[in-house]
């Protein structure tokens, strides 16, 4: 390989860029398809794992019907290998949505270490009455609104919450719900519409519902390593859980036992109390009786006493009356004496009156005399005092004074005063004499009066003495009277006493009578009470016996049933669905790329064969020049190989980016919890590169090998044209004869190059098959909604009621709801069916008949009879999945309701969900009663607005929810619409494939037949005729390939559909005739597009080409 060869190779590439690009493109397509599809699962799983890791998705969910305490979680956390264990609450509740329908929401508590919510708008709740809303149910406009617990919720549901309403503060997705499914519930419509995440304080429950455990697996989700690591660690958790649950069970049993013991004690106490009370009551009664008899004796005694008292009183009264008579007698003489006395006093009083004025006169004379006498002496005394003073003074002066004048004057005074004094003495003696005479007279008068007075006083004294004697007599009499009065008063007192005694007696008698009555009453009452107490006691005994029974039942139950459940991630719907859905893509990835690689091999082979053919002269020359075979071959190997390497690189990256992206976007409707993580898998890169090199280089080597065995001379001569041959079709004149001449030419040409035909059929057929598959997926899916809702479940509404509808309710319903054409009340329940080793749950619908509401028929359209007593009709997919056939017996079990054993009488067509239809008679036969009919199917009357009638139904007071079939239809239709993208994508891929193949083939055709085309141009073919000379072959081949592709597509479609499994939906695996037509048409459109592009090339062919010598 020298420089010249390199140059020649590069020039070759530049000169035949179209051909080079064709190889590159098909390799890129093949590699892109292979790597892209293969990597989708990995990329999705990586994205899933990353998300689950980030949100700390649980490894084990622990559940026990007994509930959990925080200590349980702590104990689990201590198990080795456990990273975190959080206890969580969960509670389903009903809210009324904006349309007024009741929908069920699931409230979950936010845990700190496990299942972290991924807040995509708003914020985390900070208060206990705030919540995060499910981002698939709530929109950003809902942030700030409240979730209000509907009144229709059961009491215990309302009790489980701390508040009546919660404010939505953010939107989140939860790793617990990877896809759109929110699961089912036992309340309301049975379908959970979304979740809300509330802090623990927002709940008001005693015990936690679940414990979520994170294990230290250290492995990526969905890997086998994870499964192994999980299996290795789960044992410890299981053991710990069992221990905790056993503890709890014992605790419960102990509590029960204690309760029973207490009850027993209480019962015994009650019994003793009863006995005691009975005795006491009897004692009390006998005491009361004794008191009554005592009272009677006392009363008798009192009665005697009263009679005695009365006799004594009568005696006393007689005595008093005698005393009174005696007093009256004594009173006469006393009164006489009194009268005499009164006369005597009167005489005395008259004498006195005579005396008193005389005495008064005497007394007045005396007074006057005393006054005159006193005044006279006073005058004398005063004059005596004056002259005595004068005398003494004069004497003094005489004695002391030497002054003769003075002594003279004093002497004078002395004489005067001596004279005056002597005269006064004289006067005094005279006055004494006068006064003494007057006084003697006066004293005579006074003695006379005093004598008269003494006489009177003596008379009065005598009278007084007599009066005193009289008074004493009277006093005595009065004392006696007083005594009598006192005796009478006493008698009165006694009588009063006696009266009160009598009254007391009467009262006592009354009291006694009352007491007796009371006693009788009391006796009756206490007897009654005793009887009552006895009855209660007996009741208590019965209750106790029942409690004991209950305890035994509970104990049996707690021992017999599993109480601890360890559920790994495989029980999480979202987690499993994600795994399954990614596996679908993987399944498809195993088929599709094979096409592309096969076509790639063929493209490389034909292209390189053609190239080597074209250049055989050159090869011959090179060989003649002495180049080795390998060195010449290497040019072509490099040509093909470099295209393969480049194509691989481009395809690898483009595929690894585009495919996961497109599929992720499509799946975004179901998942879309995070942005996709792109994966570039080196192993895939190597595999695809190897395959690409094998395709290109291998094909080149094979085509080159045959040429290179020739000697140079042979190579340099033109290759003898391939002999024309009669083809098979020519032997069928009635076809051959009908073809125009030019058509015959084309048919011949087609058959001439087998390799190309195979490539064409592979490529174009593959394209048609892909397009058909795409449309087929659409057909299989788009019809199921209309089949389901237009042909199978033809009812307009499915209504759920709060309670069973009995005859009265139904009558009431019929009266209240207008616009309804027909209705049937049904029993609905979810049951598990186990067959051939797997268990699936199914919606069981019990009714008398469903004619007009559900049309039971097989997929072939034959009617299926409504099941009779003991029979069941199952829907197709369910029966297929479990491998149940008509005539088999299936057991339906539900832990709450019971078990039904039914013979499968038919299998009916159904697409959405799974149903088992059962006759109500079967319930009666097997359960002895018909369960509550809490559901109904309803049809709207002709011409009624579907949603108006729906609102009527929703407003009915017993309605929980109304499901409008039309809405369901729309909902499903829009959900399935996402698959349109898949269809588009498949068609786009098919187009690319078709384009590369057609381009390459046409390119080969044209270059190979350049001379032929030039010749016919010279012959005067119009450009159009020239083009169709070539393209007619393409169209014919396209047609044939298309037909082959249609067959192939049918199988491919069936295969792809078998790979797509969605639990809720069964597909109607079918391809519409229109799709066949469309697949063909689209394939032709691709062919036409390629023809258009290649026509330019034909037009460019120079006619002079035809004159050149053959190389």
């Amino acid at each position: 390989m020298n420089r010249w060869m390199w140059k020649s190779t590069l020039r070759e590439i530049r000169a035949s860029l179209g051909r080079y690009m064709a190889i590159l493109a098909i390799i890129a397509l093949g590699v892109g398809f292979f790597c892209g599809l293969k990597v989708v699962r990995e990329a999705m799983l990586l994205t899933g794992d990353e998300y689950l890791e980030k949100q700390a998705f649980y490894d084990e969910q622990l559940y026990s019907p007994l509930g959990f305490s925080a200590e349980d979680a702590e104990a689990i956390e201590d198990v080795s290998g456990v990273v975190a264990a959080d206890a969580a609450y969960s509670e389903d509740f009903i809210i009324t949505n904006q349309e007024g329908n009741d929908v069920v929401m699931k409230a979950l508590s936010i845990t700190d270490d496990v299942n972290l919510p991924n807040v995509i708008a708003g914020r985390m709740p900070e208060k206990a009455n705030e919540c995060l809303g499910d981002r698939r149910y709530f929109t950003e406009e809902d942030i700030g609104s409240t979730v209000l617990l509907a009144d229709t919720n059961a009491e215990e549901t309302l009790d489980a919450f701390a508040y009546e309403e919660y404010t939505v503060v953010g939107l989140a997705d939860s790793p617990l719900y990877l896809n759109f499914e929110r699961g089912s519930t036992s309340i309301g419509s049975g379908q959970v519409a979304g979740f809300v995440l509330i802090s623990e304080d927002g709940f008001n429950k005693e015990r936690y519902d679940d414990i979520y455990v994170r294990l230290d697996t250290g492995e990526t989700a969905y890997s086998e390593d994870y499964d192994e690591a999980e299996a290795a660690l789960v044992g410890g958790v299981e053991a710990a859980l069992e221990e905790r649950v056993d503890l709890r069970r014992d605790e419960i049993l102990k509590e029960y036992e204690d309760g029973i013991e207490e009850a027993r004690q209480e019962l015994e106490d009650g019994r003793a109390e009863y006995e005691k009370g009975k005795k006491e009551a009897e004692q009390e009664l006998s005491d009361a009786l004794k008191q009554i008899t005592d009272g009677e004796a006392e009363l008798e005694e009192a009665r005697t006493q009263i009679a005695d008292g009365e006799a004594a009183l009568a005696e006393a009264e007689a005595q008093i009356e005698d005393g009174e008579a005696a007093i009256e007698e004594a009173r006469g003489p006393l009164e006489e004496g009194q009268a005499q006395l009164d006369d005597g006093y009167a005489q005395l009083d008259a004498a006195q009156a005579e005396l008193d004025p005389q005495a008064e006169e005497v007394r007045a004379q005396r007074e006057l005399f005393d006054q005159e006498k006193a005044a006279a002496y006073e005058q004398l005394d005063a004059a005596e005092a004056e002259y005595t003073a004068m005398y003494e003074q004069a004497m003094e002066v005489l004695k002391t004074s030497e002054d003769w004048e003075e002594r003279l004057e004093a002497l004078y005074d002395l004489v005067v005063s001596k004279q005056a004094l002597e005269e006064i003495e004289t006067q005094r003696a005279q006055a004494d004499e006068q006064f003494d005479a007057a006084e003697a007279e006066l004293i005579g008068y006074e003695t006379q009066i005093a004598d008269a007075q003494a006489e009177i006083d003596a008379g009065r004294a005598e009278l007084d003495e007599k009066a005193a004697q009289l008074a004493a007599g009277l006093e005595e009499l009065e004392a006696k009277e007083q005594e009598l009065a006192a005796g009478r008063a006493e008698i009165e007192t006694r009588r009063a006493e006696l009266e009160s005694g009598r009254q007391e007696l009467a009262q006592g008698e009354q009291e006694l009578a009352d007491a007796r009555e009371q006693y009788e009453e009391g006796k009756e009452e206490s007897e009654e009470k005793l009887a009552e107490a006895k009855a209660k006691l007996e009741e208590g005994e019965a209750e106790f016996a029942k409690a004991e029974d209950d305890y035994n039942t509970l104990k049996d139950e707690l021992t017999a049933h599993d109480l601890s459940y360890v559920m790994d991630r495989e029980t999480n719907t979202g987690y499993v669905c994600f795994d399954n859905d990614t596996a679908i893509v993987d399944g498809i990835a195993n088929v599709f790329p094979i096409f592309f690689f096969l076509v790639a091999i063929l493209v490389c082979m034909t292209t390189m064969t053609r190239m080597i053919d074209e250049q055989r002269t050159q090869i011959g020359v090179l060989k003649a020049l002495g180049y080795s075979r390998e060195s010449i071959l290497s040019k072509y190997l490099i040509y093909a190989g470099s295209a393969a390497v480049l194509g691989s690189v481009i395809g690898f990256f483009a595929g690894s980016l585009a495919f996961p992206w497109v599929i992720w976007e499509t799946y975004g409707i179901m998942y879309g919890f995070a942005d996709l993580m792109f994966v570039f898998n080196p192993v895939l890169a190597l595999i695809s590169l190897a395959a690409a090199l094998l395709c290109s280089v291998g094909a080149t080597w094979i085509s080159g090998r045959t040429e290179f065995v020739n000697v140079p001379a042979q190579l340099m001569r033109p290759k003898s044209p391939k002999a024309g041959k009669r083809i098979f079709l020519e032997r069928i004149p009635w076809i051959w004869g009908k073809l125009s001449f030019l058509q015959k030419v084309s048919v011949r040409n087609i058959v001439r190059y087998k390799k190309r035909v195979v490539m064409m059929i592979m490529g174009i057929g593959g394209c048609t098959a892909l397009v058909l598959t795409g449309f087929g997926i659409k057909d299989s899916i788009q019809n199921i909604v209309s089949f389901q809702y237009d042909e199978i479940t033809t009812y307009d509404y499915s209504v759920a009621f709060t309670e069973g509808m009995d005859a009265d309710d139904i009558e009431n319903f019929d009266q209240e709801i207008s616009g309804v054409d027909g209705r049937v009340f049904v029993y609905t329940g979810t049951y598990d069916v186990t067959a051939n080793g797997s268990t699936k749950s199914i919606s069981l619908i019990g009714a008398d008949s469903l004619t007009g509401f559900v049309d039971l028929h097989t997929r072939a359209g034959e009617p299926v009879a409504f099941p009779r007593d003991g029979e069941v009709v199952l829907t197709q997919k369910f029966a297929d999945t479990l491998g149940i056939k008509t005539g088999d017996t299936a057991t339906f079990s539900n832990t709450d309701s019971g078990t039904l054993s039914l013979k499968v009488s038919g299998i009916c067509e159904n697409y959405v969900y799974s149903y088992a239809y059962v006759n109500l008679d079967s319930f009666e036969t097997q359960w002895g009663e018909i369960p509550a009919l809490k559901g109904a199917f309803v049809n709207a009357a002709e011409g009624q607005d579907i949603h108006n009638v729906g609102a009527n139904l929703a407003n009915y007071d017993k309605t929980i929810s109304v499901m409008v079939s039309d809405d369901m239809k729309t909902r499903f239709a829009s959900m399935l619409q996402s698959l349109d993208y898949v269809v588009l994508f498949v068609i786009a891929c098919a187009g690319a494939l078709a384009f590369v193949v057609l381009y390459n083939l046409t390119n080969i055709n044209i270059t190979e037949r350049m001379r032929e085309i030039a010749t016919i141009k010279v012959l005067g073919f119009y450009p159009k005729e020239c083009a169709s000379y070539i393209f007619r072959e393409n169209y014919m081949l396209t047609f044939v390939s298309g037909l082959v592709g249609l067959v192939l597509g049918k199988f491919l479609h069936a295969f792809v559909m078998s790979q797509i499994q969605i639990d809720a939906v069964a597909f109607d695996v079918r391809v519409e005739p229109l799709s066949y037509l469309l697949a063909l048409v689209i394939t032709f459109v691709f062919a036409l597009i390629v023809s258009r592009a290649m026509r330019v090339k034909i037009n460019r062919i120079n006619m002079a080409e035809s004159l050149k010598s053959i190389e």
């Binding site: 010279v1018 005067g1020 006619m1103």
Partner: protein, 234 residues
């Protein structure tokens, strides 16, 4: 101007990249109807260019070309196609038969697009291949293939039969036979036949001989006494 074929000051220049090649300079020539004309000259003299222009396969740079009063040089691509289709029969040096069509089919390929073709079967008989019509080209010898090619050309009943070195790939005797076929056919059908060759030895058979050299007409002579091909030796 009354000549059947008339070249007036025809010049043709090829431009390939920066290299200019003057294939024809001021070529003036006339050929009358019914003539068998041989255009001879060495390699590179412009014979094929001249033929291409006359055959409507190539355009000229300057001058005018007329056939039977129509100006070919003024035709657009579509008219040229029609012209080739109706007026021209072409015989190639390497026959250019379609290899997976039988001999008859190759003839029909041409006659299928003509308004008034000759009967293909008859034409085949005329070229002496009445027995071989169902054979594929690969089953025929070179001479036979060239006969098929001639049959294909004349079946269109053209005004002009253009032959580019019809014997170039054939041995002497076969070549002679082919030339004879052309001469006979021309005579019989009254067809104007133009043969291009570098072999001047065959000029005696022509009614008119034109020599070209370096893109110029060296001579244009009428041969008053053309001889049958059989008598010519080279």
């Amino acid at each position: 101007m009354s000549s059947y074929v008339c070249f007036q000051d025809v010049g043709k220049k090829y431009v390939t990249g920066t290299v200019e090649t003057q294939a024809l300079h001021q070529v003036n020539l006339t050929i009358e109807k019914g003539e068998l004309c041989v255009i001879a000259g060495p390699s590179g003299a412009g014979k094929t260019t001249l033929l291409n222009i006359l055959g409507g396969m190539d355009t000229l740079t300057t001058g005018h070309v007329f056939l039977d009063g129509q100006e070919i040089s003024a035709m657009n691509a579509k008219q040229l196609t029609l012209y080739r289709r109706r007026e021209i029969g072409f015989v190639f040096q390497f026959y250019n038969l379609v290899s997976n069509l039988t001999a008859l089919e190759n003839v029909k390929l041409a006659s299928a697009i003509c308004p008034n073709p000759l009967d293909a079967q008859k034409v085949m008989e005329q070229v002496g291949l009445g027995e071989r019509i169902k054979n594929y080209p690969s089953q025929l010898s070179g001479g036979e293939q060239q006969r098929v090619a001639i049959a294909r050309a004349i079946a269109k009943n053209p005004k002009l039969l253009l032959c580019d070195e019809p014997t170039g790939a054939l041995d002497y005797n076969t070549g002679k036979a082919i030339l004879k076929l052309l001469q006979d056919t021309g005579r019989r059908e009254g067809m104007t036949v133009i043969i291009i060759t570098h072999n001047t030895a065959i000029t005696p058979m022509a009614d008119r001989v034109i020599y070209l050299k370096n893109g110029e007409v060296v001579s244009n002579e009428i041969n008053e006494h053309p001889v049958p091909v059989e008598t010519i030796e080279w």
